[in-house]
Symmetry: C3
Subunit: 253 residues, 3 copies
């Protein structure tokens, strides 16, 4: 039972995707006792999975699985597999290691729509949940993606079979994807997205507190958020529940 | 015995209040071996206590108690209890969980002076140490508190029985309480405070290194500081002792 | 064997010097399973070693030694020993605690060249590896060091017997040493250095990701980098290997 449970309201909680960029296995084991119930997906950021030993990766994933958390390797690793023409081997290795989801992206590599579609379908055929990401890693490239193209891309991925589409924000949350240089949300882009797509199929990368507050105040605690630092999972849950000053007494459930 | 103890000077150390926003229990257990001697209070930030399981909260507190550290839930949780009209239940649950102190604040909620006084007295009657906080969470509201009002409020709390009064700085240390937009101390406010109140009854929230350095250079190592990140407790102790460049050879004991 | 090892290229990896400013021993033990292979030196920042118990320092060092990592106390502690005229005691205590390297610096204290040279030789006679640091902790003092003086100092240290010379960047990486106020590299200084000194004998303090990316893109993955946060060691290794967007498909090995 939760401490101070008489102060908690019932909420419909959105997905929380945590970023793991190299946490020690034993740390994770104890960490999940604190907030394992509030995490739905964990991403092993970019190519970090590839430089760890197999047994370490497996041990980490097993702790997450104990809390029914799906783990997936970052999209950059997928792109690395595409670049090296080893896509099947990549999916098979991911399954062997215990990953239950995969991220399909083209943040650093140009990938044709045909290949993107094929990769989504192939990942599903392997039994993997599929998250795709729309956005480029380099600001200059990301700026070339206009609003219409982004919305089209989201629709394309969903119709190709993606379970969720992630809206790029990177680890910094500034000058990229849905954020301007100061880390504020680009209103026109967000409006175009919400008018054209089911918001429940989207996950917004929101690494900074002000961004998490923004999305919760706009869409309520059920909004899906990604790139949450492991240090912020507890804080995010309190924001969703109005237990922190920024959302205290400001939410309707 | 301390390593390199022949390089350590004796100091009169002020209180250090650490912010715990969700640390894993096993992490805390090992962490305290490094710096448990340098922590006096731990705050479970805002409402974070309420979303953890009771046994996790109890386990965490017990590790802190092994080092004679008092633990208290953040003021926002107190305000939540006021809002829901469950103050007695709140104090009783706090005691049951092992908390030995409490924070009384009105950062997010307007609370009458009568109720504030009553809450301080009631907490003391439960045997809890009482820390109060002066300041608002929202910058626009915080700005309405002029210097005189802040000084009056501090005096009010102390005469009502507060053990210490915390001067608001939040987790960011910018544009709030005693800090301007850049995180620098507001000199006129600090002067008014130090001229009217016993500085030893105050605890300054100083989350950033430059703020910790500022207070130590101004008041010496005996100044009381709060909202110290768990990652900065060791650093703060070295600052108090002149073992870091910023205060090296600049302190008189 | 590494997970996804078929996606890894062989690289010639430069030295990675991690900053430990007070990590718990048990955390380190599990942490090293993730990335112990990618760390060459660990610095116990500034005077942090001196406020921990001897057995804690020894336990921490022993975990690092299991991965053949050399550990050394920060230069500020060396300067503290000079100030207190206890240099021999300092070296002996360092050896007793298990440190296998030492940092010689004058960041906070004016130290004569004669004494600097003597300290380097004495440390070597104790069997310690010697890293020296060129740069001052205070920006106003650091600015007085012009380009020629810095280059001369580097040469002086190497000819006196230093194994490596560290180029100052502090923990912040801004407005100090080789970085301007925004944290960008000072090109003219770096050019003067690389034209006059063997780059393999230098270690650049590069606490921020953009700085790590800069050096890797300029010198390749074999560049030596220091002041790497424990949270960034995995990320740095992926940057060296082109497994993160910032260096993906941009490196020649």
């Amino acid at each position: 039972m939760k401490a101070f449970n008489f102060l908690l309201d019932e909420i419909e909680r959105g997905l929380t995707v945590m970023l793991d960029k190299g946490l020690p296995p034993k740390f994770i084991e104890s960490y999940l006792k604190v907030c394992g119930d509030y995490i739905d997906f964990v991403k092993f950021g970019w190519g970090t999975s590839a430089i760890m030993n197999k047994d370490v990766v497996k041990e980490k994933i097993s702790y997450y699985n104990d809390y029914n958390i799906d783990v997936y390797p970052g999209g950059t690793l997928f792109e690395c597999a595409v670049l090296k023409n080893k896509l099947d081997q990549f999916f098979e290795e991911a399954l062997n290691l215990g990953f239950s989801a995969i991220e399909i992206s083209d943040g650093s590599l140009d990938i044709s729509l045909d290949l993107r579609k094929e990769a989504i379908k192939k990942a599903r055929s392997y039994g993997l949940k599929v998250l795709t990401e729309v956005g480029k890693k380099l600001p200059e490239k990301d700026k070339e993606l206009n609003i219409n193209k982004r919305v089209e891309m989201i629709k394309f991925d969903l119709s190709a079979g993606a379970d969720y589409v992630i809206i790029e924000g990177r680890e910094s949350g500034r000058g990229i994807g849905i954020y301007d240089e100061k880390g504020n949300v680009k209103e026109d882009l967000l409006k175009a997205i919400e008018e054209n797509v089911d918001i429940n199929k989207l996950i917004f990368e929101a690494p900074n507190k002000n961004q998490q507050v923004y999305f919760i105040l706009r869409y309520g605690p059920s909004v899906n958020l990604a790139n949450i630092s492991y240090e912020d999972v507890v804080s995010l849950e309190t924001l969703r529940r109005g237990l922190r000053g920024d959302t205290f007494n400001k939410l309707q459930y």
